[in-house]
């Protein structure tokens, strides 16, 4: 039975080690903040952090995450996470909200690497995360605001 560390907690999951991490997180760890949107890494709704780096959980297998730290939207912490979620809230970025876990996890990854991203940096980093409501104008503004608040 594979054991995974998700949001600092250990989960013994009765699953095939080749199951995509996404489905293990959603169906077996019952953490539903991470979303299914396409299943083939074309939309980024399933983005989680693996050892702090954004990854598409639909393309990772459970066995690839064993012994590593998986972080989902429910458990993401720290200054950068707080700044990003705060900016998202103060600018009311969300519409349907279904993609926003992925947007936020990816944006946290971006700001952790690049504290002052340009519009072009934001486009490069966020291009993989689809928002069908097209909240992109506010996503860009919120990333800039989060960067500003982090100083």
């Amino acid at each position: 039975m594979p054991s995974l560390t998700i949001n600092g907690k250990s989960f013994d999951l009765d699953v095939d080690p080749k199951m995509p991490l996404l489905w293990a997180i959603r169906d077996h760890a019952n953490l539903t903040g991470t979303k299914y949107g396409c299943g083939v890494a074309l939309c980024g709704a399933c983005t989680v952090h693996l050892d702090g780096e954004p990854v598409r959980s639909c393309q990772m297998q459970v066995r690839d995450a064993i012994g590593r730290k998986v972080t989902t939207i429910e458990g993401v912490e720290g200054k950068v996470a707080k700044a990003v979620q705060g900016a998202w809230q103060s600018l009311d970025v969300v519409q349907c909200g279904y993609c926003q876990s992925g947007q936020i996890m990816n944006a946290i990854g971006l700001l952790a690497q690049n504290p002052k991203p340009s519009d072009a940096d934001i486009n490069n980093a966020m291009e993989g995360i689809v928002c069908r409501c097209a909240t992109y104008v506010r996503i860009r503004a919120a990333i800039h605001e989060a960067a500003k608040s982090l100083g």
């Binding site: 489905w23 539903t32 299943g39 349907c96 279904y98 291009e127 069908r132 909240t135 992109y136």
Partner: protein, 735 residues
Amino acid sequence: MFTKSMFETHLPKRKPSRRDFLKASAATAGALVVATTVDFGGNKAAALTMRDPPQPNAFIKIAPDNTVTVMIKHLDMGQGNATGLTTIVADELDADWSQMRSAFAPSNPLLYNNLLMGPIQGTGGSTAIANSWSQLRYAGAAARLMLIAAASDAWGVPEKEITISKGIISHVKSGKTAEFGEFAAKAAKVMPPAIVEPKQPKDWVYIGKHVPRLDSVGKTTGGTIYAMDIKRPGMLTAMVEHPPRFGGKVKSFDASAAKSVPGVVEVFQIPQGVAIVAKDTWSAIRGRKALRVEWDDSNAEQRSTEAMFADYRELLARPGVSAAKRGDAWGTLVKAAKVIEAEFAFPYLAHAPMEPLNAAMEIKDDGNVEVWAGAQFQTIETATIAWVLGTLPHNISLHTLWAGGSFGRRATPNADYIGELAQIAKNSKAKAPIHLVWSREDDLKGGRYRPMFLHSVRAGLDAQGKLIAWQQRLVGQSFMIGSPLEMAIVKNGVDETAVEGASDMPYAVPNFAVDWHNPKSEVTTLWWRSVGHTHTAQAVEVMIDRLAREAGKDPLEFRRELLKGHPRHLGVLNLAAEKGNYGEKLPKGRGRGIAVHESFKTFVAMVADVTVGADGTFRVDRIVAAVDCGIAVNPDIIRAQIEGGVGYGLGAALRNKITLANGFVEQSNFDGYKPLRISDMPQVEVHIVPSTEAPTGVGEPGVPPVAPAVTNAIYEATGKWFYSLPWKLDGLQST
């Protein structure tokens, strides 16, 4: 969704009266008191029977902890109506925003019908705010008076000396104050007031101002529960293998390999295809992959897109059913000094909401049925489930949850995917709650597309460049004819959702004719964010721009002349032109275009800026929009909806099409059906026209003007007209 005709059928011609309010809230007198909360209506509503105590108000629940919960009768799929409807109540009640909550109302068409849809509880046609405006103002104002009456009685002071502000009830002379919770129980026993006077606009505290969205925190922390996230003890996941061609049927299937996939519990046939029921999503996906089905395609659509368009083009040569006629368009065209003709083609489009279609159902031992869904047509969905299961609607509890987008897809005249779930639940022997999940591939290949359309437009100018004739013919499938909603929408053989935006265009043309053909196909079609306007705005607004140029006139001036007597069109047109600097001379390679369109009683104009590189690169730099949606309840949500409408319309116009090859859909995921991404998104500026008119919707009206405004801008930059969508921009060069 929905058309003007539907509005005209059901829109009250007068201000709602006290009687309407009572009717709408199923109220008489008295109150319902329960142990922990005082129910101003709401959570008991689903179970309301003739024996239940009458409720003063089905929309507002005030609890002893001072929270005020507004029952939201609509689906919030991102439009922000949960916040918007709560704003209306908060203002009339003089509550503090921090005490406001929202909850989705149960399925109950007697209490929660959409007043613009008649007896149906449902969301669509950009009607959530429009149909609730008076209902919730009166509900909030009545609840406020009841709190005052309770305080007056408790404090022994006259009602007229009591004020409420930001959630505090006060009597200045005695210095007494209280919060709502203190008087909630007492207020619920007060006879609802006979006369309710909603606030004057000058006294609004929240309407027209900024309030934070109620869903922002949940949606940024992973806490919001969508239907996709529902967990029930022992719940199984179902997926369905649908016919790969529209109109196909199961001939036979071999489930042996599928059944040997670990986790697969059952495989059986339903009318919609072959269902796999498994213990989790991954097992269902793998089980379905192992399934072998032979299809009977004898009645299926087997044409390719090109062949279908060729058939449409043949129809274009013949008169269709008349949708609008005045003067003599054909006779005038023969005599016109100049006749301009253009053909506009539009592909099938998928809605592709981020949350694929899904819903969960649990049939209890006692025969009661619980359902969880991003339910958009609760009344139709409940009726469909009841019909499939052979039970009565009152045995079904349908829980509406936040939906991950819809753009029209979750509302179907036959409750398609929820009916499919009911078939699975009915035929399953597992006796477990079942969650039906569609994959992205199911979504994109699954039909219910915006119909393909072909338009021809012939317009005539006289020697002075005056528009004297307009003849437009449309060819595109009706999704209303043959549906249960046909009677409400189809008039004299014309499906208004096919021709809206063309047959009723506002431009003054003395000789005018619009007709329409309804070609047949097994491909299923549906309303797609702004419905008929998705194609008619492109045809009308690009043609008008071209005619202006043929007449040697400025496109803005040409529109102004033809829109005399349409002040709200002119209002947004002039505001967008001013804010977007329309007419400013731009450097080579850049273009600026304008378009104006009314849909769902909301008026939107847009000025688009594009840059076309010498190497053919193309981008939309900026959209400046002006919107008149009557009173702006939540200006920031209006801006957000217009921003989103711009992105949704632009993404489709840039590169989206669903195509068929011998009847098989050629796109299956976001590689073949490429969504708009952040680098495509232009800067968007939204300006709201101040108005005292009743509010109308903004979910859809941001979509129609974007494609024509950009098309007209591309012409400015390149001298080329791109009539059809998506734009075929290969070989683009600036001039």
